[in-house]
């Protein structure tokens, strides 16, 4: 492992600096090989820092943008109970975004800068949030499938080699399980309702199934960063491995719902002991990621509006804090 992580030391470093770099690298390699954790003030390879910063900030952005598809239904939730649940869930997403921005900040990037990148359209976030939520059943499908896929992805991240990221994920995973259960419950109630309600639930599952499988990222042979991330103990399992595991869980659960998954190619491969699924449209994935999905511009525009409309509140809070401090000093 050590040899994989070794980076060429730039020539312009002084002998002392080179020595420090080499000692840092050796220390880093040892921590990783012991499966221990790297903390913010430890020496780390520039590429490790960059990879983490990209992954954690994209993850944070996903939580923040992820508030929108669901917030869309808060005013139209079918009961006060469902409305309260949905508001709690959307509030959780905001919290998750903030935990993750904090983790990213320990790598030396300011939250303000990350927010600027997001609303300037320079940052990426999960492709899933660029699909529209057109019926109430979508709240169920998002909770069950989208949060389900997220949990599958995030549980191994609790053991990510970067301490602050792992700790943020522990907190997030604890909260996320309520999200999936409430989604499952929405679908179950619709499925046991009128034929129209059942049809609405099935339609939502049909639309969210493939995009949620794509949340695990491109297939292993087309995922250039995966190998390095696994060598660094950031990722613990490959995209395809997690996707297959997720399909297996959904196959069981969809029966309880009395619905079906829109994929006739699902099967358990007795040889590999893995679940297999039908082909996914990776061109669509790339298009959505590149900003040409159904809701990309709407999502970023909305975030920008919210950020800019909130500027006066942030400024007023700063002005108030300053005034109070002056009063205290004068007293």
């Amino acid at each position: 492992m050590a040899s994989q992580n070794l980076q060429s030391v730039p020539a312009e470093l002084s002998p002392e600096e080179q020595e420090r770099e080499a000692a840092g690298q050796a220390y880093f390699d040892r921590i990783i090989s012991e499966d221990s954790r790297i903390e913010p003030r430890d020496w780390m390879p520039a590429a490790y820092r960059k990879t983490l910063l990209r992954q954690i900030s994209q993850h944070a952005h996903s939580e923040i943008i992820g508030m929108q598809p669901e917030a869309n239904w808060i005013t139209r939730a079918p009961s006060l109970k469902r409305k309260s649940i949905l508001m709690a869930k959307v509030q959780d997403e905001a919290g998750h975004g903030l935990y993750l921005y904090s983790a990213a900040e320990t790598l030396g990037q300011s939250r303000d800068q990350m927010m600027e990148d997001l609303i300037a359209g320079k940052a990426r976030y999960s492709s899933i949030f660029n699909y529209p939520t057109i019926s109430w059943a979508d709240m169920g499908a998002i909770g069950w499938l989208v949060d389900g896929a997220a949990i599958c992805n995030q549980v191994p991240l609790c053991r990510a080699s970067y301490g602050p990221y792992g700790r943020a994920m522990v907190r997030i995973c604890k909260e996320e399980s309520f999200h999936q259960r409430q989604g499952f419950e929405i679908l179950l109630e619709l499925s046991n309702g009128t034929p129209e309600q059942k049809q609405m639930a099935q339609d939502a599952v049909n639309r969210w199934y493939a995009p949620s499988l794509m949340m695990f990222g491109p297939p292993d042979d087309d995922s250039p960063n995966s190998k390095q991330s696994m060598a660094w103990n950031i990722k613990r399992f490959s995209n395809d491995e997690l996707r297959s595991r997720f399909v297996g869980m959904m196959v069981e659960q969809v029966r309880v719902l009395g619905l079906t998954l829109p994929d006739k190619d699902i099967r358990f491969n007795e040889e590999t002991k893995k679940w297999e699924h039908g082909p996914l449209d990776w061109n669509e994935f790339k298009e959505v990621l590149a900003g040409r999905g159904p809701c990309n511009s709407q999502r970023v525009e909305r975030r920008r509006e919210a950020h800019e409309n909130g500027a006066w509140v942030r400024e007023a809070a700063v002005a108030y804090a300053r005034k109070q401090a002056q009063k205290e000093n004068a007293a």
């Binding site: 003030r41 700790r167 700063v318």
Partner: protein, 142 residues
Amino acid sequence: MAPHGNPEAPASAASEINREAPKVAATNAEGTTTAPASGPDVASHGAKEETPWSLWEVFVRSSRGLSHVHAGSLHAPDAAMALRNARDLYTRRNEGVSIWVVPAEAISSSDPDSKGSFFESPQGKDYRHATYYTKSEGVKHL
């Protein structure tokens, strides 16, 4: 303070905190200097430059009888807002009965580069642990 009460009157420790928003780049207690506190590059869409909210570290006491434990960090313009934000961010599910917020820049930490030398003194001092004493094995209540 009631869990959802008005934190206008901050808990005792917080009232002693210097409430002036620090103007220097804050250092996260976790380590690295976060954010050169220079304003974001907002020229691209015409918003004006804002004063960034400073960084606070949050400690939560999960129940009576336990210590406050570091929960995470957040941004706020002053201690009162930091407490409110901490309540909303870190105690949405009754995770705490008391919160401390501390300006991140007020925390001093040991130097990570001196790990070895700073912490080496207990090494070779096994006799400070009960497990060092083996002759009493098998003797009851010892």
